[in-house]
Symmetry: C2
Subunit: 320 residues, 2 copies
């Protein structure tokens, strides 16, 4: 049964999830599941737990484009019970982004990518109905160095009964900013970055820039230009624009950097914001070309060998 | 010029060090420096910057066992100047642990390992004399997955003009504990762990256990049993015991887990503690068999598939 623990002195949080040690590639360095055995490929639907959702919504076992299933090795469970720590209560789902056995969001059709982003929103909308759940993180691990244990392109959603400490920290900061300036910290951030030297590109609804404190080379942040607290309130038309944009950004990284492993995740508001809380969702997208090593683990401070200004200049030319 | 930046909203710290992009393996996935070109092998002393210290202390270019040199691609520099962030002022050194081109602390002689730990202490003692430096982190990255860009066994020391936020957090926690209980939080932690189900082993001067909030499978903490704030105050006889212990622990991990990549680092007190500060140094040693991926990067919370209790039981049998 997964357990949530906080180290009493460092304040670090960890989920102890022993059932995950049984995963295909866990505690090993490379993924070794062959295409023939891939549980995410069509015809192998029986290898995954029962489908939570399927897109298009009336599709059959033969015709799905995106499938959502419970993770077979969940990091959190609704019936978890804490033995030495707190129970790590939650839901852990996998979003299979396409029937095609390909490694990246950039390799699937535009339709599949759009349905993937619609699935993200719909699953968050669904899970927030459960009063036991407080937060939902959508994330994607692509390729081995990005933490993917199965190659077939997929994302994950972990909803938990607690709000992660990092999100609480940002909420507090955004609240302070609102009190001091009467405005949203993230809206102000976008205003400061648009046309600046960390700017990458803009679409009708979204701004993309390399963050001032980028932890990784070529890390990009994608924010809705109009103030929007929760990813769940994103409209269909915006999700289409976002899916297209994400495919474009990932293709740009892959062309420029020799198809690196990458991660993205949605920094989203908690499911229930109190009246004084303030947030503005964003996606953080980063290739994984540097390793977290002793210095990062020993201090919490990252070393990034490519400045966001240099990365943005290079990326602007890629997307020009 | 390296720059220290804090993201205004997430509070995350990063050092932007563009000169490090020139490192042999930076922004690539494997190390490709051949033994013939290894700058840490004897006879190649001219390939590294001028020696900062050498052990045994009177050894010649031909007879050194441990050499300390400035890092050729430093993450921090004494003459750094901040352009957009703070200047990342500091010293970045490499401790070459042996003339032998081997990959692990476990592969070198007992003498070389002891001199390595003496070098750690002596370099910290030396650098703390500089009033511009506030903190020194000694760390080791072994093998590619552990972040080593050169195979030849070595450690690093990064001394900075600021105290990392993680250390400040622990200092505050330890201060609180002292105020509430009148005792050292770490001494009390050792008392609680000795003979408990996370206990691994004990020597005359050191206790080893798997931490309650272990972020990684088989993560071990090594603490001096007698209260001791700074690693710099460790005596020669204790350093000999510690070097022997670290070699034993690493050999145990390598035998049990098929020679994994690993890291260790010394969580040390800042160079200058104020009268109300309280600390107790420790070493954190961890094999690197899981990857930090989207969930960890998106929430700051780690997922560990092996409970510290299970890891400790297995490790006790290895060291029995």
């Amino acid at each position: 049964m997964p357990e949530l623990r906080q180290d009493p002195l460092s304040g670090r949080w960890v989920i102890i999830a022993e059932n995950r040690a049984a995963r295909p590639d866990q505690l090993a360095t490379t993924s070794d599941v062959s295409v023939e055995e891939c549980p995410f490929c069509p015809g192998h639907e029986g290898l995954t737990p029962e489908t939570s959702a399927v897109y298009p919504s009336r599709s059959t076992t033969q015709s799905w484009k995106v499938r959502v299933v419970p993770n077979k090795y969940p990091a959190v469970e609704m019936n978890a019970s804490g033995d030495r720590g707190e129970a790590a209560i939650g839901i852990h789902e996998v979003i299979i982004e396409s029937p095609s056995h390909v490694a990246s969001l950039s390799d699937i059709s535009g339709d599949e990518a759009r349905l993937t982003f619609i699935a993200y929103r719909d699953r968050l909308r669904n899970l927030r109905q459960d009063s036991r759940l407080a937060y939902g993180l959508v994330f994607k691990n692509a390729r081995v160095e990005g933490g993917a244990t199965l190659e077939h392109t997929h994302s994950q959603l972990i909803a938990t009964s607690n709000v992660p400490a990092d999100i609480q920290f940002e909420l507090a900061k955004a609240g302070e900013h609102r009190m001091l300036h009467g405005s949203c910290a993230f809206c102000d951030l976008i205003d400061g970055e648009v046309d600046g030297d960390r700017h990458v590109l803009e679409t009708d609804s979204f701004a993309v820039f390399c963050a001032f404190g980028s932890r990784f080379p070529y890390e990009m942040w994608v924010l809705p230009k109009e103030h929007c607290e929760s990813f769940e309130s994103t409209r269909d038309s915006e999700l289409v624009e976002l899916a297209d944009l994400m495919q474009k950004l990932i293709r740009g990284l892959e062309d420029t950097l020799d198809s690196p492993a990458y991660n993205y995740w949605i920094r989203n508001a908690p499911f229930r914001l109190s009246s004084h809380d303030d947030y503005h969702w964003r996606i953080e997208l980063t290739p994984r070309m540097t390793r977290l090593a002793g210095f990062e683990l020993g201090t919490g401070c990252f070393i990034n060998p490519v400045s966001p200004e240099q990365a943005a200049a290079q990326l602007r030319s890629v997307f020009a």
